[in-house]
């Protein structure tokens, strides 16, 4: 099939963004990237992608707006309660055996996932010995994540998820409500390091026992997905754990043989032991 003008322009836009701002969207899945670029065109009132490129190259504020569209900060606390229940039942007992814990929430967006894991670990008595690295590429969403302030209208949904995830206390034990907002308990924040990290261009920064990266890989093409998985594989300690989104799968990745599926529908995997390494097909 011939390449459409739109796709040509879109590739040029991603090249321009990479060269100018060092954000790499070239490995993003085509279908959702097309839609996001169209959304950015509407939001910035550009009739063509080339016009959008012009704005992006000459106006850093316009780029920040485009970055918001391309990274879509949508998340909620305890999304997919079954995942958190499985973390509690299948993973926490193993995490207890470590004297100190490191957890990597990759693609943390506005922070809901990182706080959910922090709450879970606190309830299990593990938070005091834990550092959670919560990373994302968008500086605006990282700021929001660090602030930990959410619209109170979203909280009933969070509470319902939390309850279904096996939460033991009222969720309100972990936030303070005021002026229509819910502010996350600052003692949770002491255990979370929010920082800028790109799965497309950066490398591993720590050894961790658990990586939680949900609904991030769906936006990547297979090659970029394999790059991200190689980072997770390298970052994880021996027999470390990886959690992904409920409709994501490692099956079509180069790392299908590098992890054991330990929670089926809830998509939690455990890094296979060293002898499993022979089975690992290294990408490229």
């Amino acid at each position: 099939m011939t390449v459409s003008s739109f796709d040509i322009e879109r590739r040029l836009l991603f090249d321009a963004i990479y060269l100018k701002y060092h954000y790499d969207f070239r490995g993003y899945a085509e279908a959702s990237a097309r839609r996001r670029v169209r959304t950015a065109m509407v939001r910035l009132e550009c009739a063509t992608v080339s016009q959008l490129q012009d704005r992006v190259l000459h106006d850093p504020t316009a780029f920040a707006d485009v970055l918001d569209v391309l990274t879509v900060p949508v998340s909620e606390m305890f999304r997919d309660p079954g995942y958190f229940k499985a973390l509690r039942e299948r993973v926490v007992p193993m995490l207890r055996t470590y004297p100190s814990l490191k957890v990597w929430v990759a693609g943390c967006s506005t922070g809901e996932e990182a706080y959910s894991i922090a709450i879970l670990l606190r309830e299990e008595g593990l938070l005091e010995r834990t550092i959670i690295y919560a990373t994302d590429i968008n500086p605006r969403t990282l700021q929001q994540a660090e602030a930990g302030i959410y619209d109170i209208a979203r909280v009933p949904g969070f509470s319902e998820n939390y309850r279904r995830a096996g939460g033991r206390a009222p969720l309100s034990d972990h936030y303070t409500a005021r002026y229509g907002r819910a502010a996350i308990d600052t003692t949770l924040k002491r255990h979370i390091v929010f920082s800028d990290h790109s799965l497309a261009t950066d490398s591993v920064f720590a050894e961790v026992q658990l990586v939680s990266c949900r609904n991030v890989l769906i936006y990547f093409k297979r090659e970029l997905q394999d790059r991200a998985l190689s980072l997770f594989h390298e970052a994880l300690c021996r027999r470390g754990f990886l959690g992904i989104g409920s409709k994501e799968s490692l099956r079509w990745s180069a790392f299908a043989q590098a992890f054991d599926d330990i929670a089926g529908e809830d998509r939690i995997y455990q890094k296979r032991d060293e002898d499993g390494r022979a089975a690992l097909r290294r990408p490229h």
């Binding site: 099939m1 459409s4 899945a29 085509e30 279908a31 959702s32 097309r34 839609r35 996001r36 879509v72 949508v74 609904n215 890989l217 769906i218 936006y219 297979r222 997905q225 989104g245 409920s246 409709k247 994501e248 799968s249 099956r251 079509w252 990745s253």
Partner: protein, 201 residues
């Protein structure tokens, strides 16, 4: 109308529906014949917080394989893929299945517009879009995208639809190729698996 008009041309079928959709799909999907080549993608608006039962409902009734879509799954010929609750379903280059949790469109995730627009991008004139009963305007923009890309658009006759809003919104945006009752849409789908007719008979 039930002639195998499009058997040589259609590479993928995309179906969108909302209120009254399960009943409408029960009239259509079991009509899909074994030996169908085109994959079929279905967005049905459902409550987001519960797992979908669509595969359990339709699997035993259909002659072709029925699956809930998983991200990056290679697309198999003649298979029905349902969008999972709370994700958009898209067709990506490959072609492979692609999911997204981008914000809802017309308060809907999965959204019919998102699926149809991705089908227009991926298959152009090879896309067949079918819009059925529904109570909101999701799908109208998607139908327009499929039409503009040269694909075929079929809508359920709004007089027969349990909720006509969805089809009427699409009709208000421009012409469609066929406006049919479910029984005739089923006939058209059966024709998709027909063998290629000889050029001269």
């Amino acid at each position: 109308m039930a002639e195998p008009l499009y058997a040589d041309r259609i590479e993928a079928v995309v179906i969108g529906t909302s209120a009254g959709g399960v009943e409408a799909l029960l009239a259509l999907l079991p009509a899909l014949p074994a030996g169908l080549r085109a994959p079929v993608f279905v967005v049905l608006h459902l409550p987001r917080e519960r797992p979908s039962l669509l595969v359990d409902i339709f699997g035993p009734k259909c002659a072709v394989p029925v699956r809930e879509a998983v991200d990056k799954e290679p697309i198999s010929a003649g298979t029905i893929y349902f969008a999972p609750p709370d994700y958009h379903l898209l067709i990506d280059d490959g072609p492979i299945v692609s999911l997204s949790d981008d914000e809802p469109v017309h308060h809907s995730r999965p959204s019919i517009d998102v699926l149809f627009e991705s089908a227009a991008d991926a298959f152009g004139p090879g896309a067949l879009a079918i819009l059925l009963t529904g109570g909101n305007e999701d799908g109208a923009a998607g139908v327009a995208a499929v039409r503009e890309a040269g694909g075929i658009v079929v809508v359920q006759d709004p007089e027969e639809a349990y909720a006509p809003t969805m089809v009427e919104a699409a009709l208000a945006r421009g012409p469609v190729h066929h406006r049919l009752r479910l029984a005739d849409i089923a006939g058209l789908l059966r024709g998709l698996a027909a063998e290629k007719r000889p050029v001269r008979d």
